[in-house]
C-alpha cells in the first residue's frame, strides 16, 4: 500500500554471528595506578622471588645440617674411639676374645651408620664404604666361618681411618 510506512528493517546480522545477538563489546580494564612497565616488572620479580625462596630453603637446611654435625660429631667420635680402644684390647688376647671383638665391631658399625647421616658430604662416601665393609664382615662371621685375626685388625684399621676423617671434618666445621 502507498500510505504504509516503510518498515524499518533491522540490520542483517554479520556473518558468523548468531542471529538476533548484539555485537560483542570489547572489555576495557579498569585504569591502573601503575604503568604497564611497572606491572611487567612486578611479575618478573615475582618469578625471581620464587627461585630465591627455593634457594633460601636449601641454604637453611644446609646450615641446620652443619649445626647438627657440629653438635653431634665430637660425641660420636668419642664413642667410636672408645669402641676402637676396646677392640684393640680384645685383639691383644686373640683368639680367646674373638666374640667380644666381634661385638665391638658391631658397635662400631652402628655408630658409623649414625655418623654417615650427620657427617659432611665430603666424608660420607668414605664412611659409608667402611660401614658396609664392617656390616658385611659381621654378617659373614659365623660358627663355621669365624672372624680371623687378619680381618679383625683390618677392620680396626678402617675404624681408625674413619676417626681420622671425622676429626678433619670436625675441624672444617669450626670454620663454617
Amino acid at each position: 500500500m502507498a500510505n504504509e510506512k516503510p518498515q524499518r528493517q533491522s540490520p542483517s546480522p554479520a556473518e558468523g554471528q548468531p542471529p538476533h545477538s548484539e555485537p560483542s563489546q570489547p572489555v576495557v580494564a579498569a585504569p591502573s595506578f601503575f604503568p604497564q612497565w611497572a606491572q611487567d616488572l612486578n611479575v618478573g620479580l615475582s618469578f625471581v622471588g620464587f627461585f630465591i625462596t627455593l634457594w633460601v630453603l636449601y641454604d637453611v637446611r644446609r646450615i641446620r645440617a652443619s649445626f647438627v654435625a657440629r653438635a653431634r660429631l665430637p660425641a660420636l667420635m668419642r664413642d667410636i674411639a672408645k669402641a676402637g680402644s676396646t677392640l684393640n684390647g680384645h685383639l691383644q688376647q686373640w683368639p680367646e676374645q674373638r666374640n667380644p671383638a666381634l661385638g665391638q665391631i658391631k658397635v662400631a658399625a652402628a655408630l658409623l651408620k649414625t655418623s654417615v647421616t650427620i657427617a659432611p658430604k665430603s666424608e660420607r662416601r668414605h664412611l659409608s664404604r667402611i660401614h658396609r665393609k664392617l656390616t658385611l664382615a659381621v654378617t659373614r662371621a659365623s660358627a663355621s666361618a669365624p672372624l680371623d685375626e687378619e680381618a679383625a685388625w683390618d677392620m680396626y684399621s678402617d675404624i681408625q681411618s674413619c676417626l681420622t676423617s671425622l676429626d678433619q671434618a670436625v675441624k672444617n666445621l669450626k670454620w663454617e
Binding site: 674411639a81 676402637g84 680402644s85 684390647g89 691383644q92 681408625q160 676423617s165 678433619q168
Partner: protein, 134 residues
C-alpha cells in the same frame, strides 16, 4: 681424607699389630735429650724400638697450654710417635695424630713392656703354692 694422614694412621695401626703379635719389642728408657730440649715439657714414659732399620720412639708428653680467656696455663698431655736417627741426636719425623690410634699403640706397648700377663701368672702361681703349703 688426606693421604698423609691415612699413611700415618696405617703406620700406627701396623706398629700396634706388630707389638701385639710380639714381632717388635719396646723398651722403657730415659728420654733422649733432643725430645725435650728447649721446652718445659715432661716425659713420664718413653719407649723405644727398632723396626726395619728405623729407630722409633713412643712417649707421653705433658705440655702447658695457655688459656687466654682466664690468663692462665694448664697442663695437657698427648702421645707422640717419633722416628729418631740412629744415635738419637735428632728427630727425623714425629706425629701426635691420630690421637685414638696412638693412644691404643701406647697402651699396647706399655702393656707388653710391663709384662702384665707375666706378673699375673707369677702372682697366681705364688697363690697356688701358698694353698699347696697349707
Amino acid at each position: 681424607m688426606n693421604p698423609d694422614e691415612d699413611t700415618t694412621t696405617r703406620l700406627v695401626v701396623t706398629l700396634n699389630r706388630l707389638t701385639s703379635q710380639d714381632k717388635i719389642k719396646w723398651a722403657q728408657q730415659r728420654p733422649a735429650p733432643i725430645v725435650f730440649r728447649g721446652t718445659d715439657d715432661t716425659i713420664p714414659s718413653y719407649l723405644t724400638t727398632s723396626y726395619k732399620g728405623k729407630r722409633f720412639a713412643l712417649f707421653q708428653q705433658r705440655y702447658q697450654n695457655y688459656d687466654g680467656e682466664h690468663d692462665r696455663f694448664y697442663w695437657s698431655d698427648r702421645v707422640v710417635l717419633a722416628i729418631l736417627d740412629t744415635f738419637e741426636q735428632s728427630i727425623i719425623w714425629e706425629t701426635s695424630t691420630p690421637h685414638a690410634a696412638l693412644s691404643d699403640l701406647f697402651e699396647t706397648a706399655r702393656h707388653k713392656v710391663a709384662d702384665i700377663e707375666g706378673v699375673l701368672k707369677d702372682l697366681l702361681a705364688d697363690g697356688e703354692e701358698e694353698e699347696d703349703e697349707l
